[in-house]
Amino acid sequence: MSLELLLIIAFSGAFLTYLSGKISSQLRDGVAVLISLGLVAIVSFLYNVQTETVFYQGFFGISLILRMNSLAWFFAIAIVSFTALCIIYSLSYMKDCERSNYYYFMMLLINASMLTIVLAGDLVTFFVAWEIMSWSTFLLISYNRNGALQAGIKYIVLSLIGSMCMLVGILSIYTSFGTVNIADVANHLTPSSVGYKLFLLIIFSITFGIKNAIMPLHTWLPDAYAESPSPFSAVLSGMLTRMGVFGFLLIMYVIVGMKTTLHLGRGFLSFNTILCWLGAITIVIPTFIAMLQNDAKKLLAWHGIGQGGYMIVGIAFGTSLGAAGGIFHTLNHATYIVLLFLSVGAIEYSTNGLRDLNSLGGLFKKMPIAFFGGLLGISGLIGVPLTNGFVSKWLIYKTLILGNAPFLAFAALLGTWGTVLSVYKFLHNLFLGQLPEEHKEIKKAPLTMQIPIVILSFTIILFGILPGLPLKVINSIIVAAGFQALDINIWGVTSETGTLNMLNIFAAIAVFGAIFWGIFKVARKSTPVDQYDNYAAGAAVPKNKYHYTVEYYAPFYRMGKPFLKDIFDMFYNRIAEAIGSICDSVRKIYTGYVGSYVMYIVLFIASLIFVQLTWSIF
């Protein structure tokens, strides 16, 4: 299977879906699922394939290249499988929505463009696919109109700034070396000056930092995640944002090269240290801001930013454990954040669009599947042992501690504890506690929504107990980047400074769990009681009011709220306002009166004459 065919299927599938939607909606659903599952199958057959094909020769003298290696495969399989799950999920989620043809078209287009990005072998293909992705993302973020349009505009403005930076970088590479082939660029770049490498790294870091929402450049993300339709929020947070991580890997370890990147600068003022610290800030602050959120999706969005910080810290720290942890965390983050968004989507579906953390509760009796999805999702997000998040975070912590960066490690661990608080609030306010009367009878989530949740929950446990499966692929990626290979077995990582063996932990928890479950069963049988048979100091339990959700961490809010503001967002908004008012005042020259236009023309010509007479330029 050649790579061109894969992309042809991906892009033409998107158009085909749109066209078949004109005929009937069932046909469109079928085509969409078929295309996305087909892509999963094709990409999985490409495992361990190393190819490079020139698919178009002579684009202004540049040959456009596609190539497949372990890094590309790792991201490609993640992209197509998560998108396929979200498409299956959308079948019932988007059933009664208007403009659903357009929705599926955009989903598949984004899928195809992301696939092109990871397969791109030259920077022009990369840039074009990046632009397709950015624009179609903008169209889907603003799918719900109203507030979503604002979020979309915020996204596209920042995204355009990023694209322009990348364009500048690509043009400078082209003018310097006369080639845009990534492998050639890497070769040409080795002898060039440190300053030029730093310039390239910084200018590309802005692009990828905006996409991956590193702290000062993150402001587009919370609104965009919260306002887009849930299945797309899942794709957006799971894979699309992580194209930034892919970009960082590309620029740092492929184009500039691992050894060079790690030795740019001296001491604290080196490129990767600063990037690490930006990552650390990105871990801590958004995680604590997430604690203040009352919108389930917004809470997850802030965590999306925070978890991105772990990847950046892991990749930028530049050890084989760190890089493996960062790449593995990208995959893990995608599994649980997609799962969490899908669970929230199931609640939205069942309660007619409610996702306010203060007005729900007790849903674990009504929606067990979504609840277990949520529980496993937050366990992964925290990194509870036996979930995949634990393994990748362990790798990152270990390398930070043993690499003599205790303050970075402190930031990372503190972020985890902040995560515990806010995701527990998420789980508690949505699923646990008293079930309100009005949600006693809710719509049941259909099978197509439950299947992706079950698959993802299973994946979280699978990768948590058998981390060797993905780590094998990751190992080949980091070896290709020039790192030392990790000593990996199916249960975890072994090294002389401490091993991780999930078999131990899994067996211990399983055995003790079985023992105590047995004791629990043998002991006197307990009487099941209703939620209204509850301790209320002898009084009758008030219905609908016996649930503690609003201001869940009130003492902390009282202390921390003044300090936990998104100052960068306010700063950018201030700039936007200033530009707006300047443009407003410029607009005043259009008076609508012919005389003044004539006057402008006369003045302009007069000034030209004046210039010519004085300096005689023309």
């Binding site: 009487t527 209703d530 209204y532 048979d533 301790y535 100091a537 002898g538 009084a539 009758a540």
Partner: protein, 184 residues
């Protein structure tokens, strides 16, 4: 702990543990509650007998009602009693729960508590001193030894009648019956 005791412990550890670990819900209805703080603090130290106050009925096995019971309190008492896990014992403290005491002719104070929930022991007096609580507890130990502190069993057996009595005073109750047919 003599040899006799060890035999009893081996024979029925649950019963013995129930005896020596009274976790008490103090239902502070009337003036009787003023006798409780001295009994659990330094002067009389109830903890040496394993008696400690707990916050919720779910964790308790002894229910101490200290004073008169108005009709409104009766509902709370019944709810609390039903929330306690079995085996559970009730001790009524002071004369008021026995026959109304000085509130014998009050328009809203019930005259005898054991018509509504089973009472295993009464501590008479107005008010009894803290020592009386300990005498009551030792009597309760003897009753438990003899399997005569069977209030919770009686409640289970005669639940229909208890419920009828409760409804006669309180009107229709706003909580479902504790024992339905399947969990009797």
């Amino acid at each position: 702990m003599d040899r006799n005791q060890i035999g009893k412990w081996l024979k029925n550890p649950g019963k013995m543990a129930n005896k020596y670990s009274f976790h008490v819900v103090y239902f502070c209805t009337g003036c009787g509650i003023i006798e409780v703080p001295p009994s659990i603090t330094t002067r009389w130290d109830a903890e040496r007998f394993g008696i400690i106050p707990v916050a919720t009925p779910r964790q308790a096995n002894l229910f101490l009602i200290t004073g008169y019971v108005s009709t409104k309190t009766l509902a709370a008492i019944i709810r609390t009693y039903e929330q306690m896990p079995e085996p559970k014992y009730t001790v009524a403290f002071g004369s008021c729960p026995i026959n109304g005491g000085m509130y014998y002719d009050s328009y809203n104070t019930i005259t005898s508590l054991d018509k509504y929930i089973p009472v295993d022991g009464y501590i008479a007096g107005c008010m009894p001193r803290p020592e009386a609580i300990f005498i009551g507890v030792t009597h309760l130990w003897k009753l438990i030894d003899m399997d005569k502190a069977d209030g919770y069993k009686r409640y289970r057996e005669d639940y229909v009648h208890y419920r009828a009595n409760q409804e006669q005073i309180l009107g229709e109750l706003d909580w479902p019956p504790l024992f339905s047919k399947e969990n009797l």
